[in-house]
């Protein structure tokens, strides 16, 4: 019972945050909503027993990635979203498609999947075992991912660095 209550509370926070992300017109509000979603998700992970994942979720997602977003929003001084004429395709095909897809998935999840319940703290994920998995069963993906990160870092540096010729940015029509 307690489990269900906690799940519902944090789940509602999640959904509220997600909806708020959509509703807000200023990107910084959206970013903070997303931080809230991530915090609540971290709590959901704790409920599932994945304490290490929960901690890393907070540290990496909320504490680093989202800080980066906020940083960029501040750097570019992003303002309130403009109301420009959107894409008809997105509204005519995308949104209905998304709705159909999610409704179908929801229907399937509620009717087709079994009713097995997950108990609180169902699968503790101690860091020691996760580390063991990472460095044994998933060694190759791990190394590949590390190379990916290295490339991403270099790419980000190259992309964001000002071009050496200090030519003024071109204004295109």
């Amino acid at each position: 019972m307690l489990h269900l209550v906690l799940f519902s509370v944090f789940g509602l926070i999640c959904v509220a945050g997600a909806v708020n992300l959509l509703a807000q017109r200023h990107p910084i509000n959206s970013a903070l909503s997303l931080v809230v979603v991530m915090g609540a998700l971290s709590a959901e992970y704790l409920l599932l027993g994945a304490e290490f994942v929960a901690a890393v979720q907070v540290i990496v997602y909320a504490g680093a990635i989202m800080v980066l977003f906020v940083f960029v929003i501040m750097l570019l001084n992003a303002g309130v979203e403009e109301r420009t004429g959107g894409s008809r395709v997105a509204l005519l095909f995308g949104v209905p498609g998304m709705l159909i897809g999610s409704l179908l998935v929801a229907w399937v999840l509620l009717h087709r999947s079994g009713t097995e319940a997950v108990s609180i703290g169902a699968l503790p994920g101690p860091p020691r075992i996760i580390g063991w998995l990472l460095f044994h069963d998933f060694l190759l993906p791990f190394e590949v991912t590390s190379i990916l990160v290295l490339i991403a870092i270099m790419g980000a540096v190259v992309l964001a660095a000002k071009p050496p010729s200090a030519a003024p940015p071109k204004r295109e029509g």
Binding site: S87, V89, A90, L91, F93, G94, V95, I100, G101, V105
Partner: protein, 650 residues
């Protein structure tokens, strides 16, 4: 356990030389280019000598497999090399003569542009020729076969800025392709019926087959077509005279001594098949005999020194085919070897003459060179005597052997013999004609040119020397001449008492002993052929030394026939009318305008047009708006989800 001789090194060494010179030669000095080319070619020759020295202790045939090449199902073709008495002889001839001609080329080509290119091609030719000779299956042989064609094409067109050279190169290549077509079909037949192209397996199966004339005759005839192309036999000989556009050492090496004999080698190699296909064999003999005669008659009237030698080559190749055609393979190969010596020498000496008179090739403008270029004269004399069949010289032994076999062999007949002897008379005549016109009498060229180039200088690529006048060639050119002259004299002596034939006997599974005691008729026939040779000498002496005005009178008397011979019987024109023009017409109308433009191009154009039209309507999807793209993705994902759920509910 047979010793590993590393046979693969023999072809690969020149290949390395070709690669080094071809890729880096542009930066090298001439000395370096020469060093590289001679080193690798000489190394191949040395290897060949080592192999020859060890040959006695080998169990022939000796097969070495370097690496697997094609292995599909039961069919196998490997990079494997096959060494027996036949390929050993070819190996020595190719590397030996090739090496000498390399040395000669150093002097001959020294002033030319594209020096490195020339030696790279020459080494490349050596690689392919050695591959051809050493191959242990028809497929590898075919690679070499095609490769020498390529090298020949490149070298004929060496002065590619000259139209006639480029055209001659193309002609050689295309005519050769016709022959290769026959060769290829023969290979397909072999694969179909024997499931293999390895000499050992094919011949083993053929030997077990007994006489099944249809199949063997077709394979034999098709192989003959291939051989005709490569060895310039009727009807595919037309490319060889034109091939004289190439530099003279090339003519000597490729178009006299080695490549053109590949056909003979191939026929001899396939003797197992021919032995069981008498009809094909008869075709070989007839082609050979007719070509010999036909080319000899043309040779009589030619005035270009190299053209004379070219027709002489065709004629001599005819002899070799005649030899093979009467199952006297060892005689054919014997003539192949001596021919390599004296014809190589003739070309080299002719090159030396051309060099001396400053690029002139017309014999009517030579004369009296005997005193001025004595070394060239004496070596040329040895070669002329050899080819004319004067007793004691190399050509005599081999030609006589062929003539005797043509008469006495079970496959032979007196007709072949008669044609052969008449051809011998003609050969002797036109060779001595060349000899007299070039070296005797008065010098008929323009007096003391200030500068001269080589045989291509007429085409406007002059290579002026600092020294004028008629002069002897440098030592680097004379040394090969002398060596080959010695070989032209003594090269035939190994044929005495059938030594050579006995050496090759294990290959051709023929008893050589049968001929040994047939003394009476052989001596008689020998006498007749000697007489023919001497008669030719006398006639040439009469016409071109004693009474030089006589040839014009005879020519005038013969009228139309003379003109026909002078114009090579209008064969080129005939081919142009019969094949080339219709082919061009058909290609233009049907293949170009019809198929290519209306079907292939139209298909491409229309599909492009169609794609463009479809794109015109679809490209609105690509609005450049990120959210539109996202919309499409979402819609697509929805479709996938619907499909998956629908499939899952089935």
């Amino acid at each position: 356990m047979t010793p590993n001789l590393h046979l693969w090194l023999i072809p690969v060494l020149p290949l390395i030389g070709a690669a080094v010179n071809g890729l880096l030669g542009k930066k090298f000095s001439r000395q370096t280019v020469v060093g590289v080319a001679l080193a690798f070619c000489g190394a191949a020759f040395a290897m060949a000598l080592i192999v020859a020295a060890k040959f006695g202790s080998l169990a022939a045939p000796h097969i070495e497999t370097l690496a697997p090449w094609i292995r599909i199902g039961g069919f196998e073709a490997d990079f494997a090399f096959y060494l027996d008495q036949l390929s050993l002889v070819m190996l020595l001839v190719v590397t030996g003569v090739g090496f000498l001609i390399h040395i000669y080329s150093v002097g001959y080509m020294w002033e030319e542009g594209g020096f490195y290119r020339f030696f790279s091609y020459l080494n490349l030719f050596m690689f392919f020729m050695l591959t051809l000779v050493l191959a242990s299956n028809y497929l590898l042989m075919f690679i070499g076969w095609e490769g020498v064609g390529l090298a020949s094409y490149l070298l004929i067109g060496f002065w590619f800025t000259k139209d006639s050279a480029a055209a001659a190169g193309k002609k050689a290549f295309i005519v050769n392709r016709i022959g290769d077509f026959g060769f290829l079909i023969a290979l397909f037949l072999m694969i179909k019926h024997f499931g293999s192209l390895n000499f050992a397996e094919v011949f083993g199966q053929v030997a077990n087959h007994g006489t099944e004339t249809g199949l063997f005759t077709s394979i034999g005839l098709l192989l003959l077509v291939g051989a005709c192309g490569k060895s310039a036999q009727i009807p595919l000989y037309v490319w060889l005279p034109d091939a004289m556009e190439g530099p003279t050492p090339v003519s000597a090496l490729i178009h006299a001594a080695t490549m053109v004999t590949a056909g003979v080698y191939m026929v001899a190699r396939s003797h197992v098949i021919f032995n069981r296909a008498p009809d094909a064999m008869m075709a070989v003999a007839m082609v050979g005999a007719l070509t010999a005669l036909f080319a000899a008659t043309i040779g009589i009237c030619q005035t270009d020194i190299k053209k004379v030698l070219a027709y002489s080559t065709i004629s001599q190749l005819g002899y070799m085919f005649l030899g093979c055609g009467v199952a006297a393979y060892s005689a054919g190969i014997f003539h192949l070897m001596t021919h390599a010596f004296f014809k190589g020498l003739l070309f080299l000496a002719a090159g030396s003459v051309i060099h001396a008179v400053g690029g002139e090739q017309d014999m009517r403008k030579m004369g009296g060179l005997r005193e001025k270029i004595p070394w060239t004269f004496w070596t040329m004399t040895a070669a002329t005597f050899a080819i004319a069949g004067i007793p004691g010289f190399a050509g005599f032994f081999s030609k006589d052997e062929i003539l005797w076999q043509a008469y006495s062999s079970p496959h032979g007949s007196w007709v072949y013999w008669a044609l052969g002897v008449f051809t011998a008379l003609l050969t002797s005549f036109y060779m001595f004609r060349l000899w007299f016109m070039t070296f005797f009498g008065e010098y008929r060229g323009e007096a003391e040119r200030e500068s001269h180039g080589h045989d291509h200088s007429r085409a406007g690529a002059p290579a002026p020397h600092g020294h004028g006048g008629i002069h002897e060639s440098p030592k680097v050119m004379l040394a090969p001449l002398v060596i080959l002259a010695v070989l032209s004299v003594i090269g035939g002596w190994i044929g005495i008492h059938h030594h050579f034939e006995n050496f090759l006997a294990p290959v051709f599974e023929s008893g050589a002993a049968g001929h040994a005691e047939a003394g009476g008729p052989e001596t008689l026939l020998m006498g007749i052929s000697i007489a023919a040779a001497l008669l030719g000498l006398y006639l040439a002496y009469l016409l071109y030394w004693k009474r030089p005005q006589l040839p014009q009178q005879i020519a005038a008397g013969l009228g139309g026939f003379y003109r026909a011979v002078l114009n090579k019987y209008y064969v080129d024109e005939l081919y142009a009318t019969l094949f080339v023009k219709p082919l061009i017409a058909v290609s233009t109308r049907v293949f170009w305008h019809g198929i290519d433009q209306n079907i292939i191009d139209a298909a491409v154009d229309n599909s492009a047009e169609g794609a463009r039209e479809v794109s015109d309507s679809v490209r609105r999807m690509q609005s450049g708006n990120l959210r539109s793209y996202a919309g499409w993705i979402a819609a697509g994902a929805a479709v996938v989800i619907v499909y998956m759920i629908w499939m899952g509910s089935q």
